[in-house]
Amino acid sequence: MALTTAKLRLYGKPFVFLLLLVPALWLSYNWWMAFQYQPHDLGFNPQETSNRFTGDWAMRILLVSLAITPIAKAFKSPKPVLFRRMVGLFAFFYVCLHITSYVWLDMNFDWPELWADVTKRIYITVGLIAFLLLLPMAITSTKGWVKRIGAKRWQQLHKMVYIVGTLVIVHFFMMRKGFQYEPLIYGGILVFLLLLRVPSIRRFASLP
C-alpha cells in the first residue's frame, strides 16, 4: 500500500478536511436544534458549552498543526507537510467560531460590554492578541502570498504560530478555576512541540 503524494492529494486531503469539519457540523446541528426548541446536546448552558467546545477544538487543531513539521522530520518524509496548511487554516476557522460563539451567542453583540471585557480581562486580551496574530498568517497562507513576500520572510512571519500557541495555552489556563490538569497537559504538549524546534535538542534527539 503505497501512499503516494498524488493519492494523498486526491483522497487524503478531502478525508482530513471532512474529519476536521466534524466538530463544527456537530455544533451547528445542535445549535440549529436549540433554535428550533428541539432537544439538543449542548447541555443546560449552551453558550458555555459552545464557547468551550470551539476553544478546545481550536487549541487541539493548532497543536496538531504544530506537530506536523516534527513528524515529517522524524519520519524523514515530506508527506505530512501536505496537510499543514489545511490543518493550520482549520485552527484559524475554529478560532473564528470560538469568537463568533462568544460575541454572538454568549454576549449577543453587547459591544460596550465586549469592549470592557477586552480591556479589563487579561485572558480575553490574550485571546484577542492570539487571534490578531493568526490573522496575517491565515491571509498569507496561499502560494501567491509566499511568492509575493518571499519564502524566507514568509517563514519568519509564520513562526508567529509559536507565540500564538503560547498565548492560547495561557488563555486556557487563565479561564479555569482551581488547580486543574487539562491546561497543564495541553501546555506540556506545546512545550514538547516547541522544544523539538530548538536546534541543540533536535541534534540530541538525532532529528534532522
Binding site: P39, F44, N45, D110, A116, R121, M175, K177, F179
Partner: protein, 320 residues
C-alpha cells in the same frame, strides 16, 4: 474535555460500582424509574441528562412560606444535572454522574467551638423534619449563571439556637465531607480539601440563611448537597456549602476554600454585587439557565431589603 486517568484507582472505582449496585439493586431500579419520569422542560431543553437518582428521594412534608418569587423556578432537570460540586468532578455533569456514591444516610454533624452544647449530632437531631418549609430563592453562581430553586429546609438560626452560640462567637465555619471512597473528585487537588466555608454570626442568624434538606418537594439529591447544605441566597453560590459534616463557632474569621485558592478573586463575603467585577469577568449580568440572553444582576441578588443593613459600615469593593 474529560481526561481519563489510568491510575490504579480506576479499577477500585469499578469494583465499588458493582458492589454498591448489587447491594442496592432494588433502589437502583426504582431510582431509574423515577429518573425516567423526570421532566425536561425549559426554553433550551437538553437531552444531556444524567438524572439517575439511584437513591429514592422520598417526598417531604413541608409548609409553603412567603419566601417565594414571581419568577418561574428553573426546571428540576436542570437543577439536578448542572452542578458545581468539585468533589465529584469539575464538569457540570460530573456531580449528577458520580454523586450516587455518596451515602447521606446515616449522617452526623460535628458541632464544636464556642457553643454551649457541642457534640456530634445525628442528622435527625439537628434538623427538625416536622418544621420543614419551602423557600423559593434565586441562586447566582460566581460564573455568571443563575437559577430559581425551590428549596425545602429550616432556617440555619434554628440549628444555631439549638447548639447555643456563646457571646464571643463571631463567625460560623462549615466543612464538607471529604471522603475519597465516596467522592472521586477528591483525588484531584483542584482545591485544598475538605471544602470549607464561613459566615459572620449576623449573616448566619439572618432570616434568609437556610439549611436545605430538600428540593422540588423531595429529599435533596446527592449532587445538590445531600443530606444538608447551606443556602445563602444573597451570596455567590460557592458560599452555600454542601453535604455539611462540621459546624464550628469561632472568634476568628475562618478560612474559606475559594479564598485560599485565589484570594484576589474570591473574598470572604462574596456578596452578589453587579458593581464589583470578578477579576476575570464582569458580574454586571448573568444568564438564567433556560434563557438565551443575559439579564442584569441585582444587588445582593435582589435581597437588599433583608441584608443590606448587615454591610452598612463595610466598603463592599474592598470586602468583596
Amino acid at each position: 474535555m474529560l481526561i481519563k486517568s489510568k491510575e490504579k484507582w480506576a479499577e477500585t472505582e469499578n469494583s465499588v460500582t458493582d458492589e454498591t449496585l448489587y447491594l442496592n439493586r432494588r433502589t437502583f431500579i426504582k431510582g431509574a424509574a423515577v429518573a425516567g419520569s423526570a421532566i425536561g422542560a425549559g426554553v433550551l431543553a437538553s437531552t444531556a441528562s444524567f438524572s439517575e437518582n439511584k437513591r429514592i428521594l422520598l417526598p417531604l412534608d413541608y409548609k409553603k412560606t412567603a419566601y417565594t418569587l414571581d419568577e418561574t423556578p428553573t426546571p428540576e432537570n436542570a437543577i439536578i444535572n448542572y452542578n458545581n460540586y468539585y468533589e465529584f468532578g469539575t464538569d457540570k455533569s460530573d456531580p449528577a454522574e458520580n454523586a450516587w456514591r455518596l451515602q447521606p444516610k446515616p449522617w452526623s454533624v460535628k458541632v464544636d467551638g464556642l457553643v454551649d452544647n457541642p457534640g456530634t449530632y445525628a442528622f435527625e437531631d439537628l434538623v427538625d423534619m416536622k418544621s420543614l418549609e419551602e423557600r423559593i430563592y434565586r441562586l447566582r453562581c460566581v460564573e455568571a449563571w443563575s437559577m430559581v430553586v425551590p428549596w425545602i429546609g429550616i432556617p440555619l438560626s434554628s440549628i444555631l439556637k439549638k447548639v447555643g452560640p456563646q457571646n464571643d462567637a463571631k463567625y460560623v465555619a462549615f466543612e464538607t465531607l471529604a471522603d475519597r471512597k465516596q467522592m472521586p473528585g477528591i483525588r484531584r487537588p483542584v482545591l485544598d480539601w475538605p471544602y470549607v466555608e464561613g459566615l459572620t454570626i449576623e449573616e448566619a442568624m439572618n432570616d434568609l440563611t437556610f439549611i436545605a434538606v430538600g428540593l422540588y418537594g423531595k429529599e435533596i439529591p446527592n449532587q445538590n448537597g445531600a443530606p444538608l447544605r447551606l443556602v445563602v441566597p444573597w451570596k455567590y453560590g460557592f458560599k452555600s456549602i454542601k453535604s455539611i459534616v462540621r459546624i464550628k463557632l469561632t472568634k476568628k474569621k475562618p478560612p474559606t476554600s475559594w479564598n485560599k485558592s485565589a484570594p484576589r478573586e474570591y473574598g470572604f463575603y462574596s456578596n452578589v454585587n453587579p458593581e464589583v467585577d470578578h477579576p476575570r469577568w464582569s458580574q454586571a449580568g448573568e444568564r438564567r439557565i433556560g434563557d438565551f440572553g443575559r439579564r442584569k444582576t441585582l444587588m445582593f441578588n435582589g435581597y437588599s431589603e433583608q441584608v443590606a443593613h448587615l454591610y452598612k459600615d463595610l466598603d463592599l469593593k474592598a470586602n468583596y
